[in-house]
């Protein structure tokens, strides 16, 4: 088993998980998204090599896996920072100051939206509605939502990211 996205290979546990997932669906192709999530968690991101590797489990042409990956915003085709900070820029958050939060983040982190800090710590994204409008302006930091943001609160959150 390798965790290198350039030459990916699942270990026996993950292989068993792939088979288990495929067995849950009437057509094993239904397991493609869960397996891609598993692959991203294992290899860090979805490289072309990962796409071709995953395609093999489904007897799909790599082109059709590439279609799913490029269609979806949560599959990263390049390595990300250790943390992904995604700020919502949709309507409610926009009304309540998302632009300012984004600007604050670009200044604090020293990167533009879409970029990763040189030290590999944070990738900054600006995304569509995360459906937490009651906490606007808000952002997703890795697995969790952080809302009711102010520049101070943002600084506190960034401070906790290693």
């Amino acid at each position: 088993m390798t965790v290198d996205a350039r030459s990916p290979e699942f270990g026996p546990e993950h292989l068993a998980e792939v088979r288990r997932l495929q067995g849950l669906y009437p057509d094993k192709r239904g397991a493609l998204l869960p397996v891609l999530h598993l692959a991203q968690d294992t290899f860090g991101y979805i490289s072309l090599e990962v796409e071709a590797y995953v395609a093999g489990f489904f007897e799909l042409s790599p082109a059709h896996v590439h279609e799913v990956v490029t269609f979806s915003t949560l599959y990263f085709q390049q390595p990300t920072g250790r943390h992904v900070v995604a700020v919502c820029h949709n309507l409610s958050c926009h009304l309540l100051g998302a632009k300012g939060i984004i600007e604050h983040l670009t200044q604090r982190l020293g990167v533009e939206v879409g970029e990763t800090t040189p030290d590999g710590r944070v990738t900054l994204l600006s995304v569509e509605c995360l459906c937490a409008c009651e906490q606007a302006p808000m952002m997703q930091v890795d697995d969790r939502y952080e809302g009711n943001l102010t520049p101070e609160k943002v600084d506190g959150i960034l401070g906790g990211l290693r």
């Binding site: 071709a52 042409s61 590439h66 490029t70 269609f71």
Partner: protein, 536 residues
């Protein structure tokens, strides 16, 4: 069989017919991009909208099945306005490449804009840019900006060739046709995506920038690349000889035949026409006297040939016919062999390597008329020698005359040394064919055959279907159809069979049909465009 009304005209169609086909049956054209009868329904272009009574909004015709009593209107104000809207949507990000795009003249954005659009464009913002002029395979060039994302090519690679090379990546107006990075469109039918692409997104690398399509003439024909006999159109450039590098044949396109190739053509067949305008074409009879071959006229060559034939005992004559020859050519040859009493007649020369075959169109036998040769009886008479026997006899100096039709014997499955020895050891070697090769260079007499696109005739495919090919261009130089050469020779030898006074291929075919039961009752007219099966 539901009966429905289209634009006031009643028509009956098979169960399951969609409204594009039903309208066609009623004589109405419904413009469309993504629909293709061979492929699954995509319903993406939204151009094929029609009005249906009792249905509040226009519906796409491709995904609506004809039902009993349905009343369809394809030309209402609302339908026309919807088409105009759809044309505008299609052209929003489309680059105005017409001056440099090969598709111009056969582009369905142009065609439908002129017919259904004709609005003033109002998009003043920057168009979306995508990769242009990307070779995606040996035969296909992609321009992703021109692509209207109809997905026909993707569906073709999934549903027809089952190779899945193409996909539509990203989403929204960033959507882009492409290959998985590092792969190529390399299946054996890749050229078909060029045909089905309605616009200039997928174009032919071979045809690129060669000649504008409005200069081309077209003739119905049959591919001669294998025993399938896929129906084709031969597109020729006669009006602008300074284009297409002077080559007359510009390209081949598949022609629909439900029983043979449907809509498709393999790449080898599609691009297998270069020999027709190649420098190696024999354009004049050649008489080799003491070393170099000299171009002579037919008036010189034919008497020489007749003299040599008359000087040979029939059992010392070997005739190596070719399954590349038409039914007409082979019939004339057989009649000539009978007249001469020659029993050494065969067409089976082994290929240098077994031909590739697949479970779709490609046949291992890379000749168009092996079945015809069988049915016509191009085989040794009892006591005569087959092809291998003819070669051996030639090598052993037991033949005085060896007449080779079309075969590139030195490149066949026979050892080259044996072939060259056979040529060397035979007093008179005649080569009759379209292109020069190692054997023709050594022949005493070279007779230039017209290419099949330069004449008309029929081939019999492996299924037993007799199919017509029609003249696309006049014969190159002084080349003649094979049957005509044989007919003139036969006449000079005093043969009386009607074949030997034929002036048209049709006469030869009629003689064949009268004599060989398998072809009984066939006429050119009866064969039509789709051919007919031989009688079992």
């Amino acid at each position: 069989m539901p009966k429905l009304t289209v634009n006031g005209k009643e028509v009956e169609v098979p169960e399951g017919t969609n409204l594009i086909e039903a309208a066609k049956a009623a004589g109405a054209e419904v413009p469309h991009y993504c629909y293709h009868p061979a492929l699954s329904i995509a319903g993406q272009c939204r151009l094929c909208m029609v009005d249906i009574d009792k249905v509040p909004r226009p519906q796409i015709a491709c995904n609506t099945q004809a039902t009993e009593g349905m009343v369809v209107h394809t030309e209402t104000e609302r339908v026309l306005e919807t088409r105009r809207s759809m044309m505008e949507f299609h052209l929003i990000n489309h680059p105005l490449d017409c001056p440099v795009c090969d598709q111009a003249g056969e582009c369905f954005l142009q065609i439908y804009y002129m017919k259904h659009g004709l609005y003033d464009p109002r998009m003043v913002d920057e168009k979306v840019h995508k990769p242009k002029a990307v070779p995606i395979g040996p035969h296909v060039m992609l321009d992703a900006e021109r692509c209207i994302l109809c997905s026909r090519c993707v569906r073709f690679c999934d549903e027809i060739t089952h190779t899945g090379e193409l996909g539509i990546f990203q989403r929204g107006d960033q959507s882009e046709i492409g290959l998985f990075p590092g792969t190529a469109l390399e299946n054996k039918y890749s050229g078909n995506v060029i045909d089905i692409c309605p616009v200039g997104a997928l174009t032919d690398r071979d045809f690129r920038f060669q000649v504008r399509v409005w200069y081309l003439d077209t003739a119905k024909s049959v591919c001669n690349g294998c025993a399938r006999g896929c129906n084709v159109e031969v597109h020729t450039n006669r009006h602008r000889p300074h284009h297409n590098q002077g080559r007359r044949v510009a390209r081949l396109k598949p022609r629909f035949n439900a029983e043979v190739n449907q809509w498709w053509l393999c790449d080898e067949g599609r691009y297998g026409f270069k020999w027709m305008d190649d420098k190696s074409r024999l354009t004049h009879p050649l008489h080799r006297g003491g070393g170099e071959g000299a171009e002579v006229s037919w008036d010189r060559a034919l008497p020489e040939l007749v003299k040599r034939l008359q000087g040979c005992p029939p059992d010392e004559v070997g005739l190596l016919a070719s399954p590349k020859m038409s039914n007409e050519d082979l019939w004339a040859l057989r009649r000539l062999a009978e007249h001469l009493g020659v029993r050494n007649l065969d067409f089976r020369v082994p290929p240098s390597a077994p031909g590739d075959e697949d479970d779709f169109l490609i046949r291992a036998d890379k000749n168009p008329n092996s079945r015809g040769a069988e049915l016509i009886g191009v085989a040794p008479d009892p006591g005569g020698r087959d092809a291998a026997g003819i070669l051996r006899a030639a090598r052993e100096r037991r033949l005085k005359l060896l007449w080779i039709f079309h075969h590139d014997l030195a490149a066949s499955g026979w050892p080259e040394a044996e072939v060259l020895a056979a040529i060397e050891n035979t007093e008179t070697v005649i080569f009759q064919g379209t292109n020069a090769n190692d054997v023709s260079a050594r022949a005493h007499l070279g007779l230039p055959s017209a290419a099949y696109v330069e004449t008309e005739g029929t081939f019999t495919n492996f299924q037993g279907r007799v199919q017509r090919f029609r003249t696309a261009i006049p014969p190159l130089g002084e080349s003649w159809p094979d049957w005509m050469i044989l007919s003139v020779v036969g006449k000079a030898l005093g043969a009386s069979d009607p074949v030997f006074s034929a002036e048209r291929a049709e006469q030869v075919f009629n003689a064949l049909a009268a004599a060989v039961p398998a072809f009984g009752g066939m006429t050119y007219r009866a064969l039509g465009d789709a051919g007919r099966m031989v009688t079992a």
